[in-house]
């Protein structure tokens, strides 16, 4: 058994009213990348928190190199060589890269004074050793998401970690950045180290992992060799039921009626001459690398950013949209990629969230009609199959998929005919993704028109009738679904202009 780097056996953890983990087990070999998958709420994050010393297990053992260990707090976990890169970054935006990496163990003079120079030199050595390109003195808040991710990784590696745990490390990265990250992981793993890699992106597991451990509802399900297993089988293990594979489902073709016509859209910073038409009942996918300007197109259309040129026509009539409120009243809803910050009031209940954009409808002379709000909320909870005990459940207690449905319900109540989805399934687990996909298809079939921005190509290919591809603020092409594949989308997405600067955050 001593040939396992890490072995977890018989692990139990309960919280008041919930059994989070029950008889959990897991083994990580030396020089191995082990993928850990499971739906949201399966117990992955509880397991991670036990490993990082944030929680104490009710029972069960950890063994490192065959020796049983007890993990006493976060600092002790680090000393044991366990490092975790959390999904939500744990960085101090106002400090520099080096200050972030060495926080809590900064080189000191006489015990209390800091030696910035020594710290920066240490950081530079570290970056050279692990071959990443970062400036130790750069302020972390000024870096791109990808570079911040690199800082997190550098920090973890600087602890001389042997067991590196990454929780959805690529959720915010584009394909080039994912490749760089995987390179880093391969460089990191050797006879003394191993990586536990948590991800929802199935294609990545195939690319990076040696084995895949599946957990569900706090229980260990199975561990499979990545090479011998199809991703369909893994998904089935995760959800415990069959899910229609990756084929493109039959969809109702859109009509010829143009509901939104955008011509020559430009902004000062990024967008150049973006023109397209959206038809009634159509799902128009927007693909491109991060920083290509997809979100900016959406923001420009709904009036969140100022246009420097361009016109927008709704149902054949030119409109001027000064701010998102105007857009909403014209029936244009934008569902932000940053659900938690820009889409929801996390502390308020489902009913309040659903009614928020349409309070006029639910009030008389400024006084709210709670009963009407509740009735509408209940109606949409049924329609969209939102899993919540009641319409008065607080939004933050729901899973990511159900939160997304609340946001969708909000715009449907507002009676929006054009919905712009920005990364509709980010951070949502596989089972719930399927439901969101089905919902988008239904909406299109009912005659709603949808713009869907997504960084996941399989998702774009699966849902879109047509695909618009962007690169560096320009539309570089349209593909009909039947003609599109990952290769020709990527080709258009990397269709760079020689004089333009490289996409934000791309690594050399």
């Amino acid at each position: 058994m001593s040939n396992n780097l890490l072995r977890i056996t018989g692990m139990n953890k309960s919280f008041p009213g919930v059994k989070a983990l029950s008889d959990m087990q897991l083994t990580l070999g030396h020089n191995e990348v082990l993928a850990l998958v499971g739906e949201n709420g399966a117990g992955k994050s509880t397991l991670m928190k036990l490993l990082s010393g944030i929680y104490v297990p009710d029972s069960g053992t950890f063994e490192i190199d065959g020796e049983e260990v007890v993990i006493n707090g976060t600092k002790h976990a680090q000393e044991l060589g366990i490092s975790i890169i959390h999904q939500e970054f744990n960085l101090m935006q106002d400090l520099t890269v080096a200050q972030n990496i060495y926080i809590g163990r900064e080189p000191r003079v006489a015990g209390v004074f800091l030696s910035e120079r020594r710290m920066n030199r240490k950081a530079r050595f570290l970056f050279e050793k692990i071959n990443i390109d970062l400036d130790p003195k750069a302020r972390v808040g000024d870096l791109t998401v990808a570079k911040q991710q690199m800082v997190e990784i550098a920090k973890a590696l600087s602890y001389k970690s042997r067991i590196l745990i990454m929780d959805e490390p690529t959720a915010a990265l584009n394909d080039a950045e994912v490749a760089t990250l995987h390179e880093l992981i391969r460089n990191f793993t050797n006879e003394k180290t191993g990586v536990i890699y948590i991800s929802h992106r199935m294609d990545e597991l195939k690319a990076i992992s040696n084995r895949i451990t599946v957990i569900r509802d706090g229980e260990y399900i199975d561990t499979v060799n990545t090479e011998e297993t199809s991703m369909g089988e893994v998904i089935n293990l995760m959800v415990g039921r069959e899910i229609s594979g990756n084929q493109r489902p039959e969809t109702i073709p859109p009509t010829d009626e143009v509901v939104l016509k955008v011509s020559g859209l430009s902004t000062k910073d990024l967008l150049k001459d973006v023109s397209f038409e959206l038809h009634k009942g159509e799902i128009l996918g927007f693909a491109g690398l991060m920083g290509a300007g997809r979100t900016e197109v959406a923001r420009a259309i709904v009036g969140a950013d100022r246009l420097s040129a361009g016109t927008i026509e709704l149902n054949g009539k030119p409109v001027t949209i000064g701010n998102p409120a105007v857009a909403a009243n014209l029936g244009l809803g934008y569902l932000s990629e940053d659900r938690k910050h820009l889409g929801l009031m996390l502390e308020r209940d489902v009913k309040d969230n659903i009614a928020l954009s349409s309070l006029k409808m639910f009030s008389r002379m400024g006084v709210l009609d709670n009963r009407a709000m509740k009735a509408t909320a209940t109606e949409y909870i049924g329609k969209l199959r939102i899993k919540t005990p009641s319409s008065s459940q607080v939004a933050k207690n729901l899973s990511g998929g159900n939160q997304q449905k609340i946001v969708i319900a909000k715009w449907l109540v507002k009676d929006c005919d054009i919905l712009i989805f920005d990364e509709p399934t980010r951070g949502i687990d596989v089972g719930a993704k399927e439901e969101i996909y089905a919902l988008l298809n239904d909406l299109a079939a009912q005659g709603k028109s949808i713009i869907m921005i997504s960084s996941e190509l399989p998702e774009v290919l699966r849902l879109s009738h047509r695909i618009a591809v962007m690169s560096e603020g320009r539309l570089t092409g349209f593909l009909a679904n039947a003609d599109a594949n990952q290769e020709n989308i990527m080709e258009l997405a990397t269709n760079n202009h020689a004089d333009a600067k490289s996409p934000a955050g791309a690594q050399r």
Binding site: S52, T74, K75, Q78, H86, F89, N90, L91, M92, Q93, D94, L95, Q99, I103, G104, R105, E106, R108, V112, F113, L114, D135, K137, A138, R139, K155, D269
Partner: protein, 340 residues
């Protein structure tokens, strides 16, 4: 091959240097802006009134900066952690009363009394820190309560009467005109303020405590997950801030030759205003001591200048309010620009 590498290395170093310069310039921009506003104010009042740019008046301005300046120094630390300290005004008053009690009723020699006064301030800060970091009471509430407790205790302990310290040997010299440096009519208290500012600046930028002050304000949870004992450091930061409150109390006592138990309320807001004008963010994570010093000077130059121009006090308050709004708005604009 090596040549290529070396050139690449050289250009990398050059670009590092460049970005470093840019960072530095940007970091000091707010201070430059604040400093420029200070100079502009001084220039304006000098032109507007011949009485303004006089040695005695400038000395007056510095003098009136001392107490709020000291309070602002301490509270800069608290504000950078993302907290707020409302108890510094009345806390200063209580520390002043306690200093007088130590020196008169307990008969401590001057030096010991001064140290005890500072230590008492630190104790109050430590109590604030305990409530905030250990009991997790929001700093606004914890220090609001402390503000009231301190105001009450100052009255109770003094029996609502001033406590005079004339008898204490050498005590007035703390505030007196600096005879030690001939030719300069700058009161000792002003030197104490600047010495305190330098010490505060060094602590904030060069010590572990300073680094954790920024770190906690920037992202408390991340700091904790990095293995830093956030609870302990928060208590220490509040304690340090409290010691500045204590020092302000000592100086105030020396200035008036007595402890006046009824005052102090409202000083905390002036100190916070000075900190904010100096570019420290109430959201935490950002700020500097030099900014706070300039902010405090702007406040006193403004009040003094307006008085000299015989503008009524009620209008002075309006002017100060406008300056605070302007300073914070400009700071926000600047940040928006650099963010893009």
């Amino acid at each position: 091959m090596t040549l290529v590498k070396e050139t690449a290395q050289a250009s990398k170093i050059a670009s590092d240097k460049k970005s470093e310069m840019a960072t530095r310039i940007r970091a000091s921009f707010q201070q430059l802006l604040a400093f420029a506003s200070l100079l502009a104010l001084v220039l304006f009042f000098s032109v507007a009134s011949e009485n303004f740019y006089q040695a005695s008046n400038l000395s007056n301005i510095l003098l009136s900066t001392v107490v709020t300046g000291l309070l602002a120094l301490g509270t800069t630390f608290v504000i950078i952690t993302g907290g707020i300290d409302l108890s510094i005004g009345t806390g200063m008053t209580l520390a002043s009363v306690m200093t007088a009690v130590f020196m008169t009723q307990l008969g401590m020699p001057m030096i010991l009394g001064v140290l005890a006064g500072i230590a008492f301030g630190a104790l109050m800060g430590g109590v604030n820190g305990f409530f905030v970091a250990v009991l997790k009471i929001p700093s606004f509430i914890a220090t609001l309560a402390m503000m009231m407790v301190a105001a009450g205790l100052a009255l109770v302990i003094s029996g609502t009467k001033p406590i005079y310290t004339n008898e204490v040997e050498g005590f007035q010299k703390i505030f007196a005109l600096g005879k030690s440096i001939p030719g300069l009519v700058i009161p000792n208290a002003v030197f104490i303020l600047f010495a305190a500012a330098i010490i505060a600046g060094l602590i904030l930028s060069k010590t572990v405590l300073g680094r954790y002050t920024y770190s906690i304000g920037s992202n408390e949870q991340a700091t904790a997950l990095s293995g830093v004992n956030v609870t302990k450091w928060t208590v220490l930061i509040y304690t340090l801030a409290g010691s500045f409150t204590g020092l302000a109390g000592v100086i105030a006592t020396a200035r008036l030759n007595s402890a006046q138990p009824a005052g102090g309320m409202g000083l905390e807001l002036q100190a916070i205003a000075a900190v904010v004008i100096g570019g420290t963010s109430l959201q935490g994570g950002k700020g500097s001591i030099i900014g706070t010093v300039i902010g405090a000077l702007i406040m006193s130059v403004l009040t003094n200048g307006l008085s000299i121009m015989s503008i009524p006090q009620e209008w002075q308050q309006v002017a100060v309010g406008v300056v605070i709004l302007l300073a914070v708005y400009l700071d926000m604009m600047r940040r928006k620009k650099t963010a893009k």
